[in-house]
Amino acid sequence: MRFERREHRPVALVIATPLIAIAAALAIAGVLIAIAGAPVFEAYWRILLGAFGSRLSATETLTRATPLILTGLAAAVAFRARLWNIGGEGQFYLGAITAAWAGSHLFGTWPSIVQIPLLLVFGAVAGMILLLVPLWLRLRFSVDEVVTTLLLNFVAVLFVSMLIDTVLKDPLAFGWPQSQSISEAGMLPKLLARSRLHFGLVIAILLALVLAFVQSRTAFGMQSRAAGLNPQGAAFAGVPLGKTLVAVACISGGLAGLAGAVEVMGVQGYVTTNLSPGYGYSGIVVAMLANLNPLGVVLAGLFTATMFVGADGMSRSLGIPSYIADVIVALSLLSMLVAVFFTQYRIRR
């Protein structure tokens, strides 16, 4: 048996495989649900309800998708240029803390119209800087960035933890380690009252559109893709590899930092060390599900959020261990990866 690359992808297949993948993931999860003693088919129904069954669940799903889309874009941009940025989590936290700092210490009194863009930029720049360090190490010392970006996640989170324990600590939080809050004017407007859904979703989708355009239409998009696919060939064709990688790192780190800023400005207002349930890592899987396509990232982010929010809600309404939500997300991600593979390859004897 071997796999042969498809030169053409039948539309029916592209539609059918993800559905099969979801079905497979749910089937496996069904076994676990049954073992936990809950009715399986009702559980499936509850997942759907949990994700979209009410105004609350729909807005929650979209709220959770927002950071996933942004970190997914961050990973997609980098991976396309073969820059293995596994550091989204650290960049997310650094972006968040920088936005929180800027929104509480620097521009807290400024009007929203100026303050919000400023905070977003600050967050993005912080993410950029954190990714430029491993990139510099790679360009200067040829240190593999998979490991350095991964390690910097821990450094970044500890750094944030230190800041919110010391200089940025909110004195009104009764000693709890959390950053001071962004002023009201620095918070992203809500898209719907009485929900957590905020303007960040619009930002994420807009950025996905911009990125899709940049990658498919611009000279920079073509160059960064070339640099990723074959650096030697790209260099021969005059692509400035270093510059391109720096630009890609800025976009990728910037997006991950922005994700952190958006999350803190849209949802919480201040930073704690459990701001992110692994958004930086999930973003990588989201990007891969989307085959590194920016518009696909939007869908993949929504899909991942749907699975999690739905399954999480299901676990509460059926009273089974809430860890099932992560199990279902993991299963659907894995089976989706396999499904994406089979839209690209066929089996031959």
Partner: protein, 506 residues
């Protein structure tokens, strides 16, 4: 001859829509040397990969000494006495020579490697067949020729009785190739049977007993080497008569490129040492030499991917300090890289993207790529240069070597460059494709382009170049006129012996 040691019977293999092997049969006797000949993409490598078990055929069988060989198992092939020297070397650069040779030769479960015995055996083989090698050298530090030797030693170490060599001379110099064939003949005399693949008809004629010709995946002809001619083979291969074009006399124009005492240093080593050359429009300057003597750096220097350390470089009469790829391209320099897969193309990108990548600036406005114009431009190249096997939007990976080379030529020649840098332009191409490439180069020369041809192939250089310089250890000999060149003289130059021989040259 006696009973065949190897029989390939009715082998077919399909890749997607390509029928790479179509019912091919072949046999080989003990002590016989068979040459396998065919255009690029004729299916030679595929057939050999099936023989060695890398691929499973869709149908057909392989018999060794009359016994059927299990399919798709390289291990079984090795056990049956087949050794293979791959077209793209199958070596691990970070391991030593002896490690490369002995991997997989002992039971994987034995508790220790018998390194000492292995070394003795390797050295014995190396002595017996005259293939000298340092067993403890790191493979990545060896020259291409030495790596080739390791590939052969691997096969011999496994006690191969049938040795398959896939384009063994593609990366060797004439001298190395001659030495290799002497060794091969010696091996055959010692009872080994050999199949070798080559595009070089001279080699085929002189080294083989029998020639098998493949075309479009089919076995089309078989001749005894003593009963055929180069032109017949070329015709059988391509399906029509092929003649290599010859250079007509011309009068070179103005000086377009001049190097005076140019040195290139990288990683602390002078890769080019105070080289001098002059290039005029309408002429071909051939740079000949054994690979690894600085050709790569010379090509990089003129391609804009490396800068000189010292010396003067004059482009159209103006001194240039350092050149970027963009400078070079916009100055009207066409560049044909010596490795088309690594440098010349980005396999996963579309043909049109590959065509415009090096001149993105002129195909984009305010950062946006003008795709329509780019595709039209690409189509023009495809039509004019007879590139077959793809439309502008197919991935370039899917083109065969010859067609990819035609495309690379096309993207460089279509705008009539003033200078064309051609590094190993016909390497690995079949006879028909070689003729086509040579024709294009001479055509460019006729149009007034100055061609700098870097090549290891004496025939090629003698056929195309007006003047020839040799490159040895990063130094460049003074030029000699093509009329004065002979294989012997060029051979001496490539060995670095020009000081006394050609001191009075042009």
């Amino acid at each position: 001859m006696n009973k065949p040691v190897l029989e390939i019977i009715g082998v077919s293999k399909r890749f997607g829509t390509t029928l790479a092997n179509d019912d091919i049969s072949l046999s080989l006797a003990k002590g016989e040397i068979v040459a396998l000949l065919g255009e690029n993409g004729a299916g030679k490598t595929t057939l050999m990969n099936i023989l060695f078990g890398h691929y499973v055929p869709d149908s057909g069988r392989v018999l060794i000494d009359g016994e059927e060989l299990p399919q798709g198992k390289p291990r079984a092939a090795i056990r049956a006495g087949i050794g293979m020297v791959h077209q793209h070397f199958a070596l691990a650069p970070n391991l030593t020579v002896i490690e490369n040779v002995t991997t997989g030769t002992e039971s994987l479960w034995s508790l220790r490697s018998r390194r000492a015995e292995e070394r003795i055996k390797l050295l014995a083989i190396s002595q017996r067949f005259g293939l000298k090698i340092d067993p403890d050298a790191r493979l990545g530090d060896l020259s291409v020729g030495e790596q080739q030797r390791v590939e052969i030693l691997k096969a011999l170490y496994n006690e191969a009785r049938i040795l398959v060599l896939d384009e063994p001379t593609a990366v060797l110099t004439q001298l190395e190739a001659e030495r290799l064939f002497a060794t091969l003949k010696d091996m055959a005399a010692q009872g080994l049977s050999l199949i070798f693949i080559s595009h070089k008809l001279d080699e085929v004629m002189s080294a083989s007993d029998r020639v098998v010709v493949l075309r479009g995946g089919r076995h089309v002809a078989e001749r005894r080497a003593s009963e055929t001619s180069k032109s017949e083979l070329a015709e059988l291969m391509v399906g029509r008569t092929v003649t290599r074009p010859v250079r007509e006399p011309s009068s070179p124009g103005e000086l377009v490129l001049e190097a005076a005492a140019v040195t290139v240093r990288s990683a602390g080593v002078d890769r080019l040492k105070a080289i001098d050359f002059q290039l005029r429009s309408g002429e071909v300057l051939g740079i000949i030499g054994v690979s690894g003597n600085g050709q790569a750096e010379l090509a990089q220097l003129l391609s804009g991917t490396t800068s000189k350390t010292s010396g003067d470089l004059l482009l159209f009469g103006t001194a240039v300090a350092s050149l970027s790829v963009a400078d070079v391209v916009s100055a009207g320099v066409g560049r044909i890289p010596d490795d088309r897969n690594k440098e010349g193309a980005i396999g996963e990108m579309a043909i049109w993207e590959n065509v415009i990548l090096e001149r993105l600036a002129s195909f984009s406005r305010r950062g946006l790529v003008d795709r329509k114009r780019a595709v039209a431009f690409t189509q023009k190249i495809i039509d004019q240069f007879d590139v077959r096997g793809g439309t502008p939007t197919t991935r370039i990976r899917l083109l065969s070597g010859g067609n990819m080379q035609k495309l690379i030529l096309g993207r460089n020649l279509i705008d009539r460059p003033r200078i064309l840098l051609a590094a190993q332009p016909a390497r690995g191409l079949d006879e028909g494709a070689v003729a086509a490439v040579h024709e294009r180069l001479l055509d460019a020369r006729r149009q007034g382009t100055a061609v700098l041809l870097i090549s290891e192939d004496l025939d090629e250089v003698m056929a195309l170049a007006d003047r020839i310089q040799a490159i040895v250890g990063g130094r460049l000999s003074p030029p000699i006129a093509a009329e004065e060149a002979s294989s012997r003289k060029l051979g001496l130059m490539m060995a670095g012996e020009w000081e006394k021989e050609v001191a009075h040259a042009v």
